[in-house]
């Protein structure tokens, strides 16, 4: 628990390597199809998904990329009654304000009003790891992740930028 508490307070969350695999794309679009949920209800999950989309909105990313955040929150809720209550209360507050039916602009206004609270912070801190540590998301950002398996960039474009002149050998030997 100490470790979990530390990580949460540092806005850092341990991410299981199986995280991406735990979020099948089919779960994203099927409304009530959340086969992997351990603690959250499909309704709670749907609201959290919409919230996640508004916190780090990327029009190019489909819902499947954001499902990972909800799956991680669900795992945290299953492991900690405190987290389960935090999420349940937070989602209930959003649902009372009809969050799911608001326009994106209205959703953002509502989230700004709760951004300093523990519920928002929990979701944001989880999402900043769950969303951006996802291989499917990396592709959209032209980021390749591990380079050792293909031998690093020494023969794969570490110095392929061609819209500026090359520095002289004295500054940057050819190697």
């Amino acid at each position: 628990m100490k470790r979990r508490e530390f990580l949460h307070k540092s806005a850092i969350v341990i991410v299981g390597t199986a995280m991406a695999a735990a979020a099948p794309a089919s779960a994203a679009t099927g409304g009530d199809q959340w086969p992997t949920l351990k603690k959250l209800s499909p309704e709670q999950a749907r609201t959290l998904l919409k919230m996640a989309r508004q916190i780090y909105p990327h029009p190019k990313l489909d819902d499947a990329c954001y499902v990972a955040t909800v799956v991680d929150l669900d795992s945290n809720a299953a492991a900690s009654p405190e987290t389960a209550k935090l999420l349940a209360d937070g989602v209930a507050q959003l649902q009372r304000a009809k969050f799911d039916d608001l326009t994106p602009e209205q959703q953002t206004v509502l989230l700004v009003s709760i951004q300093s609270g523990p519920f928002f912070q929990k979701v944001r801190a989880t999402e900043v790891v769950s969303l951006y540590n996802n291989h499917a998301v990396w592709k959209q950002f032209d980021y390749r992740g591990a380079s050792y398996p293909f031998g690093g960039y020494v023969h794969h474009g570490f110095n392929d930028l061609n819209w500026l002149p090359d520095p002289p050998d004295s500054a940057s030997p050819k190697g």
């Binding site: 530390f6 991410v15 916190i55 990327h58 540590n133 032209d142 591990a146 020494v154 030997p173 190697g175």
Partner: protein
């Protein structure tokens, strides 16, 4: 060849911490014929267990035992339990470091004499000079294989450097190159050449980057005089009635508490754990902690004036390809108070992978404006600012008796407030960094606040006078002659350079000194 010494063998030197200071010192002492027990809190990893994965590696390598923070620095707000991004693993933070290996400038050893008109700073001249250190700087550069020394060529620059070079030279800077790096351009000394992996911070899987994990430590093991004990957390330095250090109490991998007796004790746990260990070792003889008659243990914590600047360009950069610190601008390292501050700074390329960029570009930020910036990730170039910060007594590591670690000991609290000189330097450096990227055609520049500290310095400073600091010019504590400080805690002032080369240099010099004093039966 690997030695195993008895806990009651009081002829050994016990070193706490296996990073740049402790790992190097262990090697130096073993080569000098001394027996060494090296206690390391973390596990022993290897090139094959490193992962090119930022979060995985962070959880594998970083020091995650609880700490607390206070003060006006933004790290205390964004990362209240993570004041420092350093390592708990064999090799210490040399597993994580980027490899920049710069010597201090002459004036940086004499800040009290050279820097005038700075109020509120606890400036002090080092009790040694650049001249005294030069032979050991040379030895350190040779051992580490620093580029642009010892006929080792510079590394080839990556895309991130190409942007820096063009921007810097157009902005008028003259000294811009791929740096002095402890990374092999070509295989050397049993280590491979650089593969331009882009994961220097996650443990170098090629081994091109120097780390005590696969250089100093295995070489010391080969002498048959090193007993390395991973997962061994030092809890207390013990002493006898006369006040002399007698050994170290530590918790081993199974949690069992063991006292390893010692002839000499050397502390190299980094500038947070080293003072914490001294303070946690308080006794009736030393009620304020060991080596603390001056009251200076934990004070004058320094972390360098840092910050980052990212430039966003119209075309792709892919800064994450290749070495993280791929190049440097050295022109601003000079002492020139006309800029509005004393001390100097370096600008060094930096890159983060997408997972860390999302967490660190603006910690806590969210919403479309922020995600628009992140979407420019492929077109970003980045630099890190590292400059001299001012020592202040109130910036200090103390024991937080309200919070205990897994051994029931008070954790370290790290307090830091910027000095006005630090703020002036950072703001100037942000402007200069932005000017570099604008000169290279940036459409936007982003100023990024300091990350959790990777350079942790001071807290057990060297001083000429025993009442002004914790240790003398050899790192030997003023109060206890067989107790040494062997890491960056010794630094009297921070200099503007990445500290590892100087830590290694001091450790090599200290190793010769301890061996010589042992031979003379003075220790």
């Amino acid at each position: 060849m690997v030695a195993t010494f008895d806990p009651n063998d009081d002829s050994v030197v016990v070193i706490v911490g296996s990073g740049a200071g402790g790992g190097t010192l262990a090697n130096a002492l073993c080569r000098n014929g001394l027996k060494v027990v090296l206690l390391e809190a973390g596990t022993r990893q290897s090139r094959s267990t490193f992962h090119n994965d930022e979060w995985y590696a962070f959880n594998q390598l970083a020091w995650l035992d609880k700490r607390t923070t206070s003060g006006s620095w933004r790290v205390a707000k964004d990362f209240p339990n993570l004041p420092a991004w350093i390592c708990k693993t064999v090799g210490g933070t040399t597993v994580h470091w980027a490899g920049a290996s710069l010597r201090f400038a002459d004036h940086e050893f004499k800040t009290k004499t050279q820097y005038s008109g700075v109020s509120g700073a606890n400036l002090m001249d080092w009790p040694l000079t650049l001249q005294e250190l030069e032979p050991y700087y040379s030895k350190a550069e040779y051992r580490m294989g620093v580029t642009r020394t010892n006929d080792i060529p510079g590394l080839p620059g990556n895309n991130n450097f190409k942007v820096m070079y063009n921007g810097a030279t157009r902005a008028g800077y003259k000294t811009v190159h791929t740096g002095h790096m402890a990374i092999n351009p070509q295989p050397r000394d049993g280590r491979a050449g650089c593969m331009q992996l882009g994961f220097c911070f996650q443990g170098c899987k090629s081994g091109a980057k120097w780390s005590t994990l696969y250089t100093e430590i295995p070489e010391a093991e080969g002498t048959g005089r090193l007993d390395l004990r991973p997962q061994s957390m030092a809890l207390q330095v013990t002493h006898d009635k006369q006040g002399k250090a007698t050994g170290v109490l530590y918790a081993d991998a199974s949690g069992k508490q063991v006292i390893q007796k010692a002839r000499v004790v050397c502390l190299a746990g980094n500038s947070i754990e080293t003072p914490r260990l001294l303070l946690n070792s308080a006794s009736s003889t030393y009620p304020h902690g060991l080596a603390n008659s001056s009251g200076q243990v934990g004070k004058n914590y320094m972390r360098h004036t840092t910050g980052s600047v990212y430039g966003i360009f119209k075309k792709p950069v892919h800064m994450y390809r290749g070495t993280v610190m791929a190049g440097i601008i050295l022109d601003e390292a000079r002492l020139d108070p006309k800029r509005g501050f004393v001390g100097g700074f370096e600008m060094e390329t930096i890159s983060l992978g997408l997972p860390f960029m999302a967490s660190f570009l603006n910690p806590g930020a969210w919403g479309r404006e922020y995600t628009r910036q992140l979407e420019q990730y492929p077109n970003m170039a980045g630099m890190w600012i590292v400059g001299e910060d001012m020592p202040q007594e109130t910036n200090r590591v103390t024991l937080n008796t309200d919070v205990k670690d897994q051994w029931g000991l008070p954790v370290a609290n790290v307090h830091y407030d910027d000095h006005p000189n630090d703020v002036a330097m950072r703001n100037y450096a942000y402007k200069r960094g932005a000017a570099v990227y604008q000169a290279a055609g940036a459409v936007q520049t982003i100023e990024v606040p300091p990350y959790p500290s990777t350079h942790n310095l001071g807290t057990c400073r060297m001083s000429e006078k025993p009442d002004a600091g914790v240790c003398n010019k050899w790192g030997q504590t003023h109060d206890i002659k067989n107790l040494f400080i062997s890491d960056g805690s010794q630094f009297t002032t921070s200099g503007g350079e990445n500290p590892t080369l100087t830590i290694v240099t001091l450790a090599l010099r200290q190793g010769d000194h301890i061996a010589s004093e042992c031979a003379k039966k003075n220790l």
